[in-house]
């Protein structure tokens, strides 16, 4: 079942669980990703209006600075780059295949959907106080009620928008 350069998702997922255990054991850190976007947004805003950022309650709560999680998120990009280069699956791609099949290869529609999707996703994830890593992996692994509740709601929301987007365009 493994295609060229890929591993079974069960195997890769289980190994990533071992990495998570190691992280909690040796460093005391649970996985998460979305707070780093808040910190990055804060760092960008600081360039233009440091005084304003300094008095905003959310940036007082999540201080805009590079921390463990910020480096973790950066590491994800590096790790993916290394893995894809080693297995020969690295490929510069502007438009995903499934999108191109349904909506064509024009850049603008995909850019608009991804950008607006990104705004909604990040607003929602901060309101929920965790993303598929923080709630979905770390929260669920700790048996947190919030983790499972968020995980279910992530998929409900996603199923609504993805199915609306691709509605009526079955090309199989």
């Amino acid at each position: 079942m493994s295609k060229k350069g890929s591993w079974s998702p069960y195997f890769a997922g289980a190994l990533s669980g071992v990495v998570a255990i190691g992280s909690v054991w040796f460093v005391g850190k649970y996985f998460g990703a979305s707070t780093s976007f808040v910190k990055s947004a804060g760092m960008i805003e600081q360039i233009f209006s440091p005084e304003r950022v300094a008095q905003m309650p959310y940036f007082i709560k999540e201080v805009p600075a590079i921390d463990w999680q910020w480096m973790f998120v950066l590491g994800i990009a590096l790790g993916a780059f290394v893995a894809s280069k080693l297995s020969g699956t690295f490929k510069i791609q502007m438009i995903p295949d499934m999108w191109a099949e349904r909506f064509g290869i024009a850049t603008r529609p995909r850019a608009i959907a991804a950008f607006i999707g990104g705004i909604i996703a990040m607003f929602g994830v901060r309101l929920a106080n965790g993303c598929p890593s923080g709630h979905g992996l770390a929260g669920a692994s700790q048996l947190a009620v919030s983790g499972y509740l968020a995980l279910i709601c992530f998929f409900i929301g996603g199923m609504i928008s993805a199915n609306l987007l691709y509605k009526g365009g079955e090309q199989r």
Partner: protein
């Protein structure tokens, strides 16, 4: 400084495995939401299966502490559904967007830009949300075993059995 280095190393391992598991692909993420391809669900549940056993073993031995997020119904339910709606448009989540970029998926850049804007908007709205949505149905930092009043290993075994059943079903249906 050491903490930052640990963060980077942990991220590299995680990103490597996300890439190997084909989780960083728009087609796989949207494939799951369209119930056509369960790759990302297999990855996530396998992660949870291993991590929950390891973490609770270490927890019982007094080696690690839990770090729970509050169950605030207003914030978690509304926020997570909103996230899902955005996720269905973007096709990447916050962590996988960076990983997707790492393996050459340039459309993730638009999403990363949108997410930075979304984070900025949230920071503006936070004082208002803190007084409203984030006060609706706050049950605090609770776990499933606490809520049910049973031992955590019972919950873990039930979850493991449920996951195995689901995996078997995925393979039968070739999802």
């Amino acid at each position: 400084m050491t903490t930052l280095l640990y963060g980077l190393i942990t991220g590299v391992f995680f990103g490597f495995l996300l890439q190997k598991g084909e989780v960083l692909r728009y087609d796989k993420q949207i494939g799951a939401l369209r119930l056509q391809d369960m790759t990302i669900v297999k990855f996530m549940l396998s992660h949870i299966a291993v991590a929950m056993v390891g973490i609770y073993l270490l927890y019982d031995l007094g080696i690690v502490k839990l770090s729970l997020k509050s169950t605030i119904l207003g914030g978690v339910v509304i926020g997570a559904i909103l996230f899902g709606i955005g996720w269905g448009l973007l096709g990447y989540c916050p962590g996988t967007s960076l990983g997707a970029l790492g393996e050459g998926r340039m459309d993730a850049l638009w999403g990363i830009g949108g997410m930075l804007v979304g984070a900025g908007i949230y920071a503006e709205a936070y004082p208002y949300l803190q007084k409203t949505v984030l006060t609706w149905g706050d049950y605090g930092k609770i776990t499933i075993p606490q809520a049910l009043g049973i031992n955590h290993w019972i919950v873990i075994v039930i979850l493991l059995l449920a996951m195995l059943g689901l995996f078997k079903w995925f393979e039968q249906k070739k999802l």
